[in-house]
Amino acid sequence: MASREMELSGLTQTNDPPRGLLAEVAERLIYPFQHGKAPEPQQATGFYTDTTVCIGCKACEVACKQWNQLPSDGFNWSGNSYDNTAELSATTWRHVKFVEQFSAEGSASEDVVSPESPFSRWLMMSDHCKHCLAAPCHQACPTGAIIQNEFENVYIQADICNGCSSCVAACPFGVITRSDMGGHSHKCTLCYDRQRDGLEPACAKACPTQSIHFGPVEELRERARQRVEELHQRGLAQAYLYGDVPTETYSEMHSFYLLVDRPSVYGLPEAPFNPWLHMMGDYVRSVTGGLAAIAVLLAVVFLMKP
């Protein structure tokens, strides 16, 4: 973390009115319990990312950082192609991934090469929060800081989060991270503030190749399916959509991708699993373990008491 950001985060905001200790304590105690009125539900929105047209320019990363005023993560050489961002974090909500598929002889291996690029290919993908319909982070959050807003996007209320990290443990995509600066969790908001003002998210606005599409989820799905069909007709049989429809183990995602290789090549789980599918069974085993011990103890007490 850059030291200037740390320094700034410690400063008192100049527009905060001066308050006494008691007023401060009372405010801290009462504030989280003041629930506002939920906005009227709107049409569900999301992202459809067509990785086949991504050129890895990182304009989305920059636009995201700029609009959301996210601090720099420093500059580090990762040694992994042009990916020096390395991962999504509390201060990096967009991450452009680079995959170089070149064989040693200058021709790509048969199972990965596309007819469009007979010798070699780059895969590039702008990664971000998947805004899952049944989001494990949302289910895990004990404070109610993580909500599904009126656009059915998963949103973290930073003023409520207390940094318990349940969401970090729950996310199967490794999206959410707890910040070292304030101790709270952060991730892509799908530019909630811009959406409320009728604007598209900063990353989609900045994308020069229309790899990042934003809009109503149903429209995006239709557009994505047409694009897959088009690619199939052009001979790119590997093209498919990831996350557009629910599976047996995971809900649909409001941010989904068009991919041309296995999900794991892009750093995505092959078959995402919602941990909550196990929760009831785990509770049953937990209660059984406890009740068995109580039964044994009671049996011994009744058998041995005079």
Binding site: R28, P32, F33, G79, S81, E87, K97, V99, E100, Q101, A108, S109, Q139, P142, G144, A145, C161, N162, G163, C164, S165, S166, V168, A169, A170, C171, P172, F173, G174, V175, T177, R178, G182, G183, R262, S264, V265, G267, L268, P269, F273, W276, H278, M279, G281, D282, R285, S286, G289, G290, A292, A293, I294, V296, L297, V300, V301, F302, M304, K305
Partner: protein, 304 residues
């Protein structure tokens, strides 16, 4: 070497293996490890010790009041002390400890941490009452009916406080943890076992021979019963352990944990004296901590 020739050499010798880059991100971890380190192992231990001591005491006292009442009046304050230390650790482990009370702004049964926080908060009230009334009774102000009422009211939230922890540590996407179906079963069972051990030591220290004799047998029985969820948990974790540790390391850890059961059982059957009891319970507590520590460590070291 001039700049141009350095550049040419760099082009001729790329820094990465090409095969690695063709696989892209396939070999990189997908999930992020939460900031849950050693504190969580201690928290899981203290949670079990506090809730287990309360539950073992309450169950024993309600089943045989004449035998267990004297030791119960000491056990409840001890359980309260353990719980306070545990709560301190829970709060300090948050990213923003001053926002601990935000957990109480909603009740979400889908969140094991929410359920656990509510159970712990509710449990702390009757436990404080039971502990306070036990201490008052020692000073001559005996409100027996109120103390028993507090104990009864504390049963359900105490059980919930013991039961949620394992589910919290298994209902997530972390490598190893996500496959640990018996973590909850083990932790809840282990809480009762540790509680019985603590109550046994307190009984022996207070010279309660009848209570000590009963609890000694109960402790041995629970040690044996606890092997079932412990074995099931290790069966769940076997694939993760196989990736993390060599076969030799797995055997050594397994032997140490098995010793944590065999030694206390042997000591209990050998002699019921206070030193033997103390050593047996200490060995059990060390084993219980070791199981929790090994478990908490998995995602931090996992190559999955």
């Amino acid at each position: 070497m001039n700049a141009e020739s350095r550049s040419q050499q760099a082009l001729a010798q790329p820094p990465l293996q090409k095969t690695a880059s063709e696989a892209g991100y396939a070999d990189m971890p997908v999930t992020k490890v939460p900031g849950w380190y050693g504190t969580i192992a201690w928290d899981a231990l203290l949670n079990g010790m506090a809730t287990g001591l309360f539950l073992a005491t309450a169950v024993s006292e309600l089943a045989a009041p004449a035998i267990f009442r004297p030791v119960a009046k000491v056990a409840y304050p001890v359980a309260l002390l353990l719980l306070l230390v545990d709560l301190g650790m829970l709060v300090s482990d948050l990213g923003d400890p001053l926002r601990f009370h935000h957990m109480l702004r909603v009740f979400k049964p889908t969140s094991p941490m929410s359920l656990g926080t509510w159970c712990l908060t509710i449990f702390s009230l009757p436990l404080t009452a039971a502990a306070g009334l036990s201490l008052l009774a020692e000073l001559g102000w005996d409100f027996e009916w109120a103390r028993i009422l507090a104990v009864v009211l504390g049963l359900l939230p105490a059980f919930g406080s013991a039961a949620y922890k394992g589910v919290l540590l298994s209902t997530n996407a972390q490598p190893g943890w996500k496959d640990a179906r018996w973590m909850g079963g083990y932790l809840t069972n282990s809480a009762l076992l540790m509680g019985c051990g603590e109550l046994l030591v307190l009984s022996a220290l207070l010279g309660q021979t009848q209570a000590t004799a009963v609890l000694r047998m109960g402790f041995v029985a629970l040690l044996v019963v606890n092997l079932i969820p412990l074995s099931l948990l290790f069966a769940d974790l076997r694939p993760a352990h196989a990736l993390l540790y060599t076969r030799g390391q797995q055997w050594r850890v397994g032997a140490l944990i098995a010793a944590g059961t065999v030694i206390p059982v042997g000591l209990m059957l050998l002699n019921g004296g206070l030193p033997f009891l103390l050593v047996a319970v200490m060995v059990l507590l060390v084993q219980s901590w070791a199981v929790r520590f090994v478990y908490v460590k998995i995602p931090h070291t996992s190559p999955l």
